[in-house]
């Protein structure tokens, strides 16, 4: 379980969420993005292809991250949500707040 950050050749910082994004590890994701922002990164893609589940703290962390990225003139996209994960975003109406694509490749094209 954890987060893997890697820079794509297009200049997008891709963060893979492996396992769960929940109250116990949300701060790690927030720190990863915050540090990248401080180093000048402005394009972020969070990839949920290998994610089991997300709780409300995880959703809240994404909301906070999104706000910080926007404040710095950046862009955050989400991708790789399976049907169950996507249902959480729809239920909470957060699908209207985030730019969500089916696959990471689709998100990279959209930046």
């Amino acid at each position: 379980m954890g987060f893997t950050a890697s820079k794509h050749s297009s200049g997008v910082l891709m963060v893979q969420v492996e396992g769960q994004l929940i109250v116990g590890n949300r701060q790690e994701l927030k720190n990863t993005v915050q540090e990248a922002l401080e180093h000048g990164e402005r394009k972020f893609l969070v990839d949920f292809t290998r994610t089991g589940y997300i709780d409300s703290s995880g959703l809240g962390a994404l909301v906070s991250i999104s706000k910080k990225v926007r404040e710095q003139g950046g862009e955050l996209r989400l991708a790789g949500l399976n049907e169950d994960l996507r249902s959480l975003f729809e239920l909470t109406k957060l699908d209207t707040l985030f730019a969500i694509t089916d696959t990471p490749d689709q998100a990279l094209v959209a930046f």
């Binding site: 769960q20 709780d55 409300s56 809240g60 169950d84 909470t92 109406k93 707040l97």
Partner: protein, 135 residues
């Protein structure tokens, strides 16, 4: 045959994931439950434990959370009880208005209510009973 699982966990959010997996594994042992049902249980139980540890017990290390799962052939009943003073769940509104979207918190109970088939608090507001049908 009914299976009952009971555990008591310290007020430490880093233990939630392991506790959830333990309960889910026992609740579905020998059952071919749909992935959607397992997902709902994982999310709702994670939420309930987080609420109990963070807000119920205030992360006080001297307090703990009790989880009891009754696993019946058609339905699961999960009881999550903290050592805190309780709260009135009626005061928690649904966080889905446009002005709520930017809020970083306040979605836990909403998710529980929507993912479980039935949700009930005891009169003190420190014990939650969640019911989930297996299919």
């Amino acid at each position: 045959m009914a299976v009952e699982v009971a555990l008591r966990i310290p007020s430490d959010v880093t233990l939630i994931e392991e506790a959830v997996e333990l309960v889910v594994r026992h609740c579905f042992a020998g059952w071919d439950a749909p992935q959607r049902v397992r997902f709902r249980l994982r999310v709702a139980l994670s939420e309930a434990l987080a609420n109990a540890i963070l807000y119920g017990n205030g992360e006080d290390p001297s307090r703990s959370v009790e989880v009891r799962a009754e696993c019946l052939p058609d339905v699961l009943h999960l009881h999550i009880t903290d050592d805190g003073p309780g709260f009135d769940p009626a005061t928690i509104r649904d966080p889905v208005t446009p002005e709520d979207l930017d809020r970083a918190c306040g979605r836990g109970l909403f998710l529980i209510r929507n993912l479980m088939d039935h949700v009930r608090y005891n009169e003190f507001g420190n014990s939650l009973c969640m019911t989930l049908r297996r299919h």
